[in-house]
């Protein structure tokens, strides 16, 4: 086992029944080489302060529960190694979301936005199961595949200044998922999703900061999805203007 140093973890805590606003609390934590931020949180919870609240589950960067700000940058607590940090590490709840308690934030907004975009296959006529699967070429799959990799961890929302400035913005991840279905060769729901995508709170709130794509732990590129949808929405707008329909 490699050497263990002791580090200071500063956590922005908020206990709604006690605090009127969030306060920083520090903990001294032993920190083996292999530990991620989540391990330190678990250590605190199990050994120092059982009242610390945070979300977590898979510890392998796929369930999307443990998004937090680590030293000001949105990260998955389970994939952020303490060995890459200094002796003081600050952990705060994800930016741009209301804090429910401690590191737990309210994400209702995202779930509603996602639902409004109809993130599922829409077809004029359903294919009966007896007819088997659709064919999908490698190219057709590749077109949308990266956008299916979103784990809904919402780091992108925490990184998005436009969401910070206007929480009515549908936001990166939800829009990327809409784009994912639009690009799927099995889908025919583009026009229905446009109702939201092309609304003032859809892609047009985005100013292509690009932060969403930079912080995505799964290398999804929501910024790209949104730019592509701006282009199609623009084409669409003029086509509609000319009386054509899409």
């Amino acid at each position: 086992m490699s050497e263990t140093r002791t580090i200071k973890i500063e956590i922005l805590r908020y206990r709604p029944e006690i605090d009127s606003s969030p306060v920083l609390q520090s903990y001294r934590v032993p920190c083996p080489q292999e530990w991620v931020v989540l391990d330190a949180l678990d250590y605190i919870k199990n050994n120092i302060d059982s009242s610390l609240s945070y979300r977590w589950s898979c510890h392998m960067a796929v369930c999307g529960s443990c998004g937090v700000m680590v030293n000001g940058e949105p990260m998955l607590a389970c994939k952020t190694f303490l060995r890459e940090m200094g002796d003081t590490v600050r952990v705060e709840p994800l930016l741009n979301f209301p804090i429910e308690r401690d590191l737990v934030v309210v994400i209702d907004d995202f779930l509603e936005n996602l639902k409004s975009l109809k993130p599922y296959i829409i077809r004029k006529t359903e294919k009966p199961v007896e007819e088997g699967t659709h064919l999908q070429t490698h190219a057709q799959l590749k077109r949308f595949k990266q956008y299916t990799l979103c784990i809904n961890c919402l780091l992108c929302y925490a990184a998005c200044p436009q969401y910070a400035l206007n929480t009515n913005f549908i936001g990166p991840s939800a829009l990327a998922l809409a784009h994912r279905y639009n690009l799927d060769s099995r889908d025919e729901g583009y026009a229905m999703r446009q109702e939201i995508v092309a609304s003032p709170e859809g892609v047009w709130e985005c100013s292509f900061v690009g932060a969403c794509s930079e912080v995505c732990p799964k290398h999804v590129d929501p910024a790209s999805a949104v730019q592509q949808m701006k282009i199609t929405s623009t084409k669409d707008y003029f086509l509609r203007f000319l009386g054509g329909k899409r």
């Binding site: 206990r15 709604p16 029944e17 589950s57 369930c63 993130p119 699967t133 299916t148 279905y181």
Partner: protein, 589 residues
């Protein structure tokens, strides 16, 4: 306490719960569905499944083969009527998922691709790269948003089933963000709450896998079946226990001991051929592979590391292109968590607790012995997995039996006189509320949940590991019983109502202790070796005395009452499990 009236309450919104909810919604859009989960649906542990889901899809394969692979893989402790139903239904379920948008990996001609998995004669595992569970879960979750009758109750921790007169009238759940107890009065309840791998210290299971639903059913009198059968997955990463899918071996990866030798050939799985042969070597079943590790360890042929003994999973010969196309997540996980790139180096791995074959006893219709109560997915035991689950049958199971549970519950809810009895439900809910309030308010206790959890996990690992024997099992039994007593002396320090995870962890611990006890007692009393249950003191399978399911009944504060049920055998009589060249598996070019 708030009362919510609904038609079907579903506990758990992972793969099985979502599939059940969609099945109810499709059967009858007028039925109100309460989908209750302690986490957001996309956090459910289905998300972590990697390798794939098995279903017969090709002309060279047959339902018979899938049936026999599953039954023999389960060491004949499977109920064969259920397996039959399962193998017949799963191709339709996977096709439906394809229609719902699941991004299955494809062959060049655009057909859904299949890969080999352990214990199968012909390759039949559908996969979406190495994130199949993730894609299935998100596809189901996103598809579920289409149905207005599905009302979600995210981050509601279910505590008790409201059962009276042999019938289930609903469930109580704590809304975590307010701490408010809610009583869901419903015509039917479906439990889809997943397994409880967290009773062990070293597991692929996420923190949420604490067996809550199993314990809930157990406490109201539903037996837990075959709980002693706990699967070790042969290839977990050191320290974290992160799963490296069987797909690594399906794509051609080797298992090597410290001498670089493919040791599986010494355990009846050979010969070691360069090209993967199905049902042989690395494509043997998980129980055999994990047991082989144990023997290698005994022989001192494993690699010593700070995190225990390891063997190597060698994928270098697959090449970067194939690894990036088929196993990108595995590469990412190995690089991130242990700084080993599978393209250039063999990856240290060891067996890790992965899956519980046992669970809530159900019949072939996913129904429990209590009317109006169904269970599906890992929390249930419909007995298609027997003593050892075949890789890539669990995702299939949650789809097939989740859908069946949903349809059965919908039919039940539609028939006459199924209204929940409001008085009874209220009464039971009040009792549940009092039970939880007691745990919450108790003061002056000396115990800490975290300590008890650690002791429990250690007891399980020491007593109910890959190989078991009477003495250590007895020690584990008494330690779990003792921990259950000490549980009553826990004081919850956090008195907040809002997102109180101290309270939730403590309730979860209560559930884990309950099911842990069924594991160790079931294991103690099963004096034979079968599948994942291997006794050093009782070698070999004993079909005369133990070709039967263990059923454990809750018995208050005393240890569980253990009984047995016959195994349903239709067409495959118990025989020797044959792997290696003699098994006649196809050879992959």
């Amino acid at each position: 306490m708030e009362t919510i009236k609904t038609d079907i309450a579903i506990i758990g919104a992972g793969g099985a719960g979502l599939r059940a909810a969609i099945a109810v919604a499709e059967s009858d859009p007028s039925l109100r569905i309460a989908l209750i989960s302690k986490v957001y649906p996309m956090r459910s542990h289905t998300v972590a499944a990697e390798g794939g889901a098995a279903a017969v899809a090709r002309d060279n394969d047959s339902l018979e083969y899938h049936f026999h692979d599953t039954v023999s893989g389960g060491d004949w402790l499977t109920d064969q009527d259920a397996v039959d139903l399962f193998v017949n239904t799963i191709p339709k379920e996977l096709t439906r998922l394809e229609h719902w948008g699941c991004p299955w990996s494809r062959e060049l001609d655009g057909k859904v691709a299949v890969r080999p998995f352990g214990g199968m004669k012909i390759k039949r595992t559908w996969f979406a790269a190495d994130k199949t569970g993730f894609h299935i879960l998100h596809t189901l979750f996103q598809t579920s948003l289409k149905y207005p009758s599905i009302q979600r109750f995210d981050e509601f921790y279910s505590t008790d089933l409201l059962v009276a007169d042999g019938r289930c009238h609903g469930v109580t759940a704590i809304e975590m963000r307010t701490g408010q107890m809610h009583a869901f009065q419903s015509k039917g309840v479906i439990i889809c709450s997943g397994g409880g791998g967290r009773i062990f210290p070293f597991t692929t299971n996420g923190g949420i896998k604490t067996g809550d639903g199993m314990a809930m059913a157990y406490r109201v009198g539903v037996p837990l079946k075959d709980m002693e059968f706990v699967q070790y997955h042969p290839t977990g990463l050191p320290m974290t226990g992160i799963l490296l899918t069987e797909g690594c071996r399906g794509e051609g990866g080797y298992l090597l001991n410290k001498d670089g030798y493919r040791y599986l050939q010494d355990y009846g799985l050979g010969p070691a051929t360069h090209e993967p042969r199905l049902k042989a070597m690395e494509l043997g079943p998980r129980d055999r592979l994990s047991q082989a590790f144990w023997h290698e360890q005994r022989k001192g042929r494993t690699v010593k590391t700070p995190y225990g003994d390891m063997v190597y999973l060698d994928m270098r010969h697959l090449g970067e292109k194939k690894i990036d196309e088929r196993l990108p997540f595995i590469r990412d996980l190995a690089k991130s968590y242990i700084n080993v790139d599978p393209v250039t180096d063999p990856v240290p791995v060891r067996p890790v607790i992965h899956y519980m074959m046992g669970g809530i006893h159900t019949d072939i219709n996913a129904a429990t012995p209590i009317k109006g109560l169904w269970a599906a997915g890992e929390c249930a035991c419909v007995s298609i997995n027997g003593a050892n689950r075949l890789g890539s049958n669990s995702l299939g199971e949650l789809l097939v039996f989740g859908a069946i549970a949903g349809r059965q519950a919908a039919a039940y809810a539609r028939s006459e006189g199924r209204e929940a009895n409001g008085d009874v439900a209220r009464d039971r809910a009040a009792a549940a509320n009092a039970r939880v309030a007691d745990i919450f308010r108790r003061s002056g206790g000396k115990e800490r949940a975290a300590d008890l959890r650690t002791s429990m996990a250690r007891a399980l690992e020491e007593g109910a590991g890959i190989y078991r024997e009477e003495e250590s099992l007895k020690t584990s039994c008494s330690r779990i019983s003792e921990l259950r007593e000490r549980y009553a002396d826990i004081e919850i320090k956090d008195k907040s109502s809002i997102f109180n995870t101290d309270l939730i962890y403590t309730l979860e611990l209560g559930a884990m202790l309950d099911i842990a006890e069924t594991v160790v007692y079931g294991a103690l009393l099963r004096t034979e070796s079968r599948g994942a249950h291997q006794r050093l003191d009782y070698e070999g399978r004993d079909d005369v005395n133990f070709l039967k399911h263990t059923v454990a009944y809750h018995n208050g504060s005393a240890p569980p009452r253990i009984d047995y049920l016959p195994v349903i055998i239709t067409k495959s009589q118990p025989a020797e499990r044959v792997y290696g060249e003699a098994a006649g598996g196809a050879v992959e070019k």
